[in-house]
């Protein structure tokens, strides 16, 4: 008979502290058993110090449990969170579960009372929960952020993330910084919204500030918009999660493309700040400290909604605080995260749109790549060199792993693009040497299904492994140094999420969300 085991829905101590290699890691993320935020911690590295599962034994990985729920939508994109043996899972933007992380048995289930049949069938998917203390936070399809008690699933407060404009939902996993819940909105493609990021008091739900990603006339940055109403529907929605440096006290949050997504920017001449931009904001009041725009006047829907990863590293002989950003425009950017200074950008996927960068990092595009009435052939295609799925940085290998896509499209100014169906496409897991900016190795993902757009992400561990998924449902582990695939498993449902790892009941688990549930794997024993 098995002995009883304690899991905790409340709070235990901070647990084992593991040296973080002088990375800007918040104290609460130091216990490697837990996975407390979308990309595990505030740095966005999606890297774990857990090493029980390693290169030598990963071939013995087997499914330990699966948790299935009725999918309410075709997309399950959530990253589960784990604390003290309990997994917290968002299943769409209307349902959440607490599970015993060692067995997959549920402890409670939360259903958000929102009727999709009431004429507002907004996209109902979520990339996950935020967690602070005994509170979980979730963005909802009706543009609210809610707090749920992690102990029993009760709703504690519900605050609107709405403005005087249509609501298209809040799908990014909320991020917690300095007792504030940060959550953005989606819908920039529609040409009907002006993007913003909201900050709420984590205890009360009171909104403390809002940062509009498109300035109003007269505000700084408004000079990059023409003298018309295009700013009112300027998009730039921050629909994914950001990262946070506690030492510099700066949030790093990427924004989306200008709206509408019609490949025709003639009604919004100018750079269109702060779309397709990385924002460095003060968490206390939303003050903009610096910004870096990757794709000024974006006409290809390349946005910037990828994870800004915080890395401290030697750079030209000097220790620097960096933010590394694999951008949808196919370039991997390295930026000084203290000052916003552009340091380097190197292509990690097929591109033909750039002529050169200025020393300040402003791209000088090839005019032929701009959408035109006759159609312009440009790479990457509309889905980008990568997309919102998580990259990962492994401090041991110095490699940055990006789910990458080589594809070109034909962009018509009339509002449509011919995508990869006509021009061919391939997806890869690529390992990029951060110091050199060059490709170390790549793993092609094969088969017809894997030529489509890919939203499966990656995660790396101190066990010398990179875990990653692919659209066809395969979940895989590769040697982080060599790229050799050491283990793979067909989950049988498409993967549009990024993996996690944690410890429960003395074992290391690796888990991934698939279309209809979560798979958890551990070593065969």
């Amino acid at each position: 008979m098995r002995t009883s085991r304690l899991i905790s829905l409340a709070l235990l101590g901070t647990g084992l502290a593991v040296p973080s290699g002088a990375q800007p890691l918040e104290e609460r993320y130091r216990n490697p058993s837990n996975w407390l935020s979308y990309d595990r911690d505030n740095t966005g590295r999606r890297y774990s110090e857990l090493a029980r599962i390693d290169r030598d034994n990963v071939a013995r990985l087997v499914p330990k449990w699966m948790f299935q729920y009725s999918p309410q939508q075709l997309r399950s994109e959530a990253t589960p969170l784990v604390r003290d043996g309990v997994m917290y899972l968002a299943a769409g933007g209307m349902r959440a579960f607490a599970l015993d992380a060692a067995t997959g048995r549920s402890v409670w289930r939360f259903d958000y009372p929102f009727d999709q049949g009431d004429g507002r069938p907004n996209p109902n998917w979520s990339r996950g929960l935020g967690l602070s203390g005994t509170r979980l936070y979730l963005g909802t399809p009706d543009c609210h952020v809610i707090a749920i008690d992690s102990r029993n699933g009760a709703m504690l407060w519900r605050s609107p993330v709405t403005a005087d404009q249509p609501c298209f939902g809040s799908t990014g996993a909320p991020i917690i910084a300095k007792n504030r819940v940060l959550v953005g909105i989606r819908g920039g493609d529609t040409g009907r919204v002006r993007g913003y990021l909201d900050a709420f008091d984590a205890e009360t739900g009171k909104r403390e500030w809002r940062f509009y990603t498109v300035p109003a006339p007269g505000e700084p940055g408004s000079e990059t918009w023409p003298d018309n109403d295009s700013w009112k529907a300027g998009g730039g929605t921050p629909w994914t999660s950001g990262t946070y440096d506690p030492e510099l006290d700066l949030l790093y949050w990427p924004t989306g493309n200008p709206g509408p997504k019609d490949f025709d920017g003639r009604n919004r001449e100018g750079d269109n700040l702060y779309t397709a931009t990385l924002l460095a904001l003060r968490p206390d009041d939303g003050e903009l400290v610096w910004h870096f725009q990757y794709t000024p006047h974006d006409e290809h829907d390349w946005d910037a909604n990828q994870t800004p990863v915080l890395v401290d590293a030697d750079w030209n002989g000097r220790r620097r605080k960096l933010v590394v950003h694999p951008n949808r425009n196919a370039f991997l950017y390295v930026i000084d995260r203290e000052s916003g200074e552009f340091l380097r950008a190197t292509p990690f996927a097929k591109q033909n749109w750039l002529s050169r960068f200025t020393p300040e990092g402003r791209p000088v595009p090839r005019p032929e790549a701009a959408p035109s009435p006759a159609g312009a052939h440009a790479c990457p295609d509309i889905h980008g060199g990568t997309n919102w799925q998580s990259p990962t940085f492994h401090p041991g290998t110095g490699l940055f792993y990006v789910m990458s896509r080589d594809a070109c499209g034909v962009y018509f100014r009339t509002g449509h693009s011919i995508d990869h169906l006509e021009t061919g496409a391939e997806n890869f897991l690529r390992a990029i040497d951060l110091a050199a900016g060059s490709l170390r190795w790549e793993l092609p993902l094969l088969g017809v299904e894997n030529r489509e757009v890919m939203f499966a992400g990656a995660m790396s561990t101190a066990g010398g492994l990179v875990f990653f998924g692919s659209r066809d449902g395969n979940f895989m582990a590769a040697d982080a140094e060599s790229g050799q695939v050491l283990w793979h498993f067909n989950t049988g449902g498409t993967i549009r999420a990024s993996p996690i790892t944690y410890e429960a009941d003395g074992q290391q688990f690796v888990a991934i969300t698939t279309k209809s549930g979560v798979f958890a794997f551990g070593l065969f024993d």
Partner: protein, 274 residues
């Protein structure tokens, strides 16, 4: 070589067909433009101006759904499709089209219906019974099922005259490699032990290739045990029907195929994840 052999694949195929039953077609309610070629062309242009940005080229899906596979487009009434386009879906990114006159909306309906039901046209004349006999004697039934009888290497032809125009059917018979059916790609694999496996590619991923052979077996071949995987861009179907059959026989065969308009046709999809 330790390729897994799965059998019997015929049972599998039959159960998929049985499970995939879906609702019958609504009676189409009056698109005044019908399938008028000029309306279809105009709808095509309009679709690419306004809809393709989300629904993709040829309506096969991009950020928004694949309309060719959507039940509402395939089976819903033309009136409901008209209303959907005109009013959009409130609260979603599907916008209304208040500036479009009714005729322009009907043009989009004509275009969409031409994609999913391209073959709605007068029946071809010819000796249908003789065509039915030829379908068996000329070997078509070796690979194609009609009315519950036939082979499995090629697609079922029960609704072929709904899915395709008579010109497309003619082209498929006379020049089968010109337009290959999705999910029926011809492949030829050589295993590392030298054994050759030929057939139809039913699935593949980063690690595995599944080939349906003429024997009705699905062979699962690990990629790391393959010496080669050739994908000749040609159909396994004989290309000589145009010379082997007389003009009268072809006319009868086309008339028979043109009668295959069963609207109750389960959708059997090729490989993918669902």
């Amino acid at each position: 070589m330790t390729a897994t052999r799965l059998r019997p694949c015929l049972c599998l195929a039959a159960s998929v067909l049985a499970l995939a039953a879906s609702a019958g077609a609504d009676a189409p309610r009056g698109n005044p433009l019908g399938r008028d070629p000029a309306a279809v062309r105009a709808g095509d242009e309009l679709f690419h101006e306004r809809c393709a940005v989300c629904h993709g080229q040829r309506a096969q899906g991009a950020m928004a759904s694949n309309l060719v596979r959507t039940r509402r487009v395939r089976r819903g009434s033309e009136q409901s499709l008209f209303e959907l386009i005109q009013t959009g879906i409130p609260g979603t990114e599907m916008p209304p089209q208040p500036d479009l006159p009714d005729e322009r909306v009907w043009q989009i309906v004509s275009y969409l219906r031409s994609l999913v039901h391209p073959g709605e046209q007068p029946q071809l004349p010819g000796d249908v019974d003789a065509g039915r006999a030829l379908f068996r004697s000329a070997g078509c039934a070796t690979c194609h099922i009609v009315n519950g009888h036939g082979g499995f290497l090629g697609p079922s032809l029960d609704s072929i005259a709904i899915r395709k125009t008579s010109d497309q059917i003619r082209s498929d018979v006379l020049n089968p490699s010109a337009s290959l059916a999705e999910g029926y790609e011809t492949v030829s694999a050589q295993a590392s032990d030298g054994r050759r496996v030929e057939g139809v590619l039913k699935n593949e991923d980063t690690f595995l290739v599944l080939i349906l052979t003429e024997a009705g077996e699905v062979e699962a071949l690990p990629r790391d045990r393959l010496r080669s995987l050739d994908r000749p861009a040609r159909s396994r179907m004989p290309a000589d029907y145009g010379t082997r059959l007389s003009a009268g026989e072809l006319r009868a065969l086309f008339a028979f195929l043109d009668r295959q308009r069963d609207p109750f046709t389960p959708v059997v999809r090729g490989f993918g994840v669902y």
